[in-house]
């Protein structure tokens, strides 16, 4: 359990780092929105910027949630054991693997990064990649829900 405690501490540090990065990026986004030249901006520019800002806010929210959850668990032995059991539960591992995890998560993150970069050059590529990510995550979620019901 000591190994897991160390791992949890590392995860708290990573989440704190992520939260800090998102705060900086968020502040930069707000700054760019306020001080950008609106006369030359197109509707798609606004959409890509809005998507980025939404993504930053979501990552910030998830990081905060993770920090609170892990901090509560690290100070309580029972909660830590429950968290360990939840993460290493064989049934959940099977369900996750049937839902395509972690490959779906990795490809989704890569596709989102590609979509944001592509969004600056071609908005159609941006929409296509975001739709593809939404589709693959939906399929994964449906499979996971089905397995949770039947297993």
């Amino acid at each position: 359990m000591e190994k897991f405690r160390t791992k949890v501490k590392q995860r708290i540090a990573i989440s704190s780092g992520m939260a800090l990065v998102t705060v900086v990026l968020g502040a930069f986004s707000i700054y760019s929105i306020i001080f950008s030249d609106h006369s030359t901006a197109t509707l798609s520019d606004g959409f890509v910027a809005g998507f980025q800002f939404g993504l930053i806010i979501s990552i910030f929210g998830f990081s905060l949630f993770d920090i609170v959850k892990l901090s509560l668990a690290i100070n309580d032995e029972t909660k830590l054991t429950i968290l360990y059991n939840k993460e290493n539960d064989e049934r959940m591992k099977t369900i996750r693997s049937k839902a395509g995890m972690p490959l779906i998560a990795i490809t989704s993150v890569l596709m989102i990064i590609a979509a944001i970069v592509a969004g600056y050059f071609n908005i159609v590529v941006f929409y296509t990649l975001v739709s593809a990510v939404a589709a693959q995550l939906s399929v994964s979620a449906v499979v996971k829900l089905y397995c949770l019901k039947t297993m």
Binding site: T78, E90, R91, M92, M151
Partner: protein
Amino acid sequence: MKTRIKELRKERKLSQEELALAVGTTRQTITSIEVGKYTASLVLAYKIAYYFGLTIEEVFDFSEENEF
């Protein structure tokens, strides 16, 4: 697969949560094994049987699995 987990739990006045914590799994997995939706791995089956001080065959019913 049929099991005697629920019966053994009741005898020992044990909740699913307590059993899950003792054998290193989740309450949901214990529920799934009890209702026969999920078949435990050899390791988990051994942990559950060991916890109750019984053999795997005494906790899990393999009679249906032997039918070809």
